[in-house]
Symmetry: C2
Subunit: 323 residues, 2 copies
């Protein structure tokens, strides 16, 4: 870690340390390919399948790094967070493995499947309204009451260092990658990807993929400063949250471009992935494929890593079934 402009910024040594720390608690997830999707896109796509990860999403990497890096005295009071879902699952899982409490503030509108899963891992939920402002206010009350250690879903150097282990594995698993595409919400996965690739593979281009309906990262990237929206509406419910100072630091310094996709393009890419690759992925994970299909000239002929970030879907409410 280094301190710069008032922020504690993780370094690549922290990624290596995180990888050792979390290894007993997370999967080294497989990389899958699809000859159908290669033909469709004209690129060679390598899907890093974090939907097969413990707790069903990459976020368990950062959560485990934070939880298992605490001293025993810190850990005794438990951990707390606010989350649109997967970080809540992941922190609950990590806390459960360490045997400490986990307090979670979640929007009341979060999918029932995610609430059930948090409780299944032993997390204790306090509900808030589905807006960033409400979420932060309710969380402050919970933290004051419990004294638990705050683990932010993404704007936390321990979390970013943990997420950086994903692209480190991807680079070990696939030779000669020329680009990596990952979804961007708050920017935790993208920041970890930037941290790792800028150190071990600085020539690899990094694309952030975002729903057009929640394109605050794309607008921030063009404007040169953080633009935050309150409660955007998108099927990619994991990507509604805004950038914060630490993730913005990585995005502005290392991301090649932020690409966006429309809602119907995201749903179509999600359904195509289910149909052809036979894997269950969240709408958020379909945003990279949607942007690749929308910008074929950027990716054609290239070896492209795609981070499939998670697979926690409410199977009773699939987006192509609505309306």
């Amino acid at each position: 870690m280094k301190t710069m402009e008032g922020m504690v910024i993780p370094e690549f040594d922290d990624v290596i340390a995180a990888h050792e720390r979390i290894r007993p608690y997370v999967h080294r997830t497989p990389v899958l390919t699809s000859s159908y999707l290669n033909a469709l896109t004209g690129a060679e796509l390598f899907f890093k399948c974090e939907n097969f990860q413990k707790a069903g999403a990459f976020k368990v990497r950062g959560a485990c790094n934070a939880v298992f890096g605490l001293s025993d005295a810190e850990a005794a009071k438990g951990v707390a967070t606010h989350s649109s879902g997967n970080h809540a699952l992941s922190l609950s899982y990590a806390a459960g493995r360490r045997g400490i409490p986990c307090h979670v503030v979640m929007p009341r509108t979060a999918p029932q499947a995610k609430k059930d899963a948090v409780r299944g891992y032993g997390g204790q939920i306090t509900e808030c309204e589905p807006s960033t402002t409400s979420r932060e206010a309710v969380f402050a009350e919970v933290q004051a009451r419990t004294g638990a250690e705050f683990v932010h879903p993404y704007n936390d150097p321990r979390v970013i260092a943990g997420q950086g282990t994903c692209s480190r594995e991807l680079m070990e698993q696939v030779e000669g990658l020329e680009a990596v595409v990952a979804p961007i919400g708050g920017g935790g996965m993208i920041s970890g990807t930037c941290l790792t690739l800028s150190n071990i593979a600085p020539g690899v281009r990094i694309y952030a993929a975002e729903p057009k309906n929640a394109d605050d990262a794309a607008r921030s990237f063009r404007a040169g400063h953080i633009i935050a929206d309150d409660a955007p509406e998108t099927v990619a419910d994991g990507l509604k949250v805004p950038l914060k100072d630490l993730t913005w630091h990585f995005v502005k310094n290392h991301v090649t471009d932020v690409l966006t996709a429309e809602e119907d393009e995201i749903v179509e890419a999600m359904k195509t992935t289910w149909k052809r690759m036979k894997i269950v992925i969240e709408p958020s994970c379909a945003v990279p494929l949607a942007t690749i299909l929308k910008n074929p000239e950027v990716f054609r002929g290239k070896r492209v890593g795609v981070i499939i970030t998670g697979g926690n879907v409410d199977l009773d409410r699939l987006p192509w079934m609505k309306g």
Copy 2:
């Protein structure tokens, strides 16, 4: 191959030859595990994921073995079959790879997704009524017209030898298996499993899993002779067809037991697999897990291979969405 009681019966040498022959055209599919499902069943389950196979199902193994074993003169007239779906896809895929025609007789009620996929691989469909008798009558017309080589979906020694490559891989991928469970419809996968395991791992118990609504194999097994039903109704649409002489030969000689599950148990097992393992599987593939959950005393504490036979599902018509 050996001839016995008027049948040409494949031997283990044919499995080895099939494995070499089909290797360029099929995947060596991965074996996945789930700590959740292990805890739920009390067994150690190893899922052989043929849903990730080319054309989305194990049937491509037998189809490729038949197609690539033909002489050039035989192949020139093409191949033909009747199938409830996945064999049709698979034979179309295999024929396409060899560059020969594939004629397919399919029930008009087969899922649209399967018809589209057959045509996508270049197969030419002739529709029949959804009964075994209609299927066989229409097929006779097609074969007389084209002179194509008949490749039966399961009652064919070339097909059974091809399917036997699946459990051969499974035994290489997982040490110390004590039982293998696979769905049974016509019995092609089970026969291939029997052929392989009786030769290389005769101590491994073989369980056939069948929908209670289409339990002709279970009743045949108890009665000691083939009992065939015409057009049974089950959500596991790949398992409606009856045993034939060649598959019955393997079932009666090598299967430990035929276990059955109710429709709601199959759908629940399918949904649980999607939710927890994040893989798209057909209803037919959920029958083994449903029977394991229903007969925990048979499997508890054992290392059990489970054949996930395919992943070709109509995503617009999921069984838990009906009604």
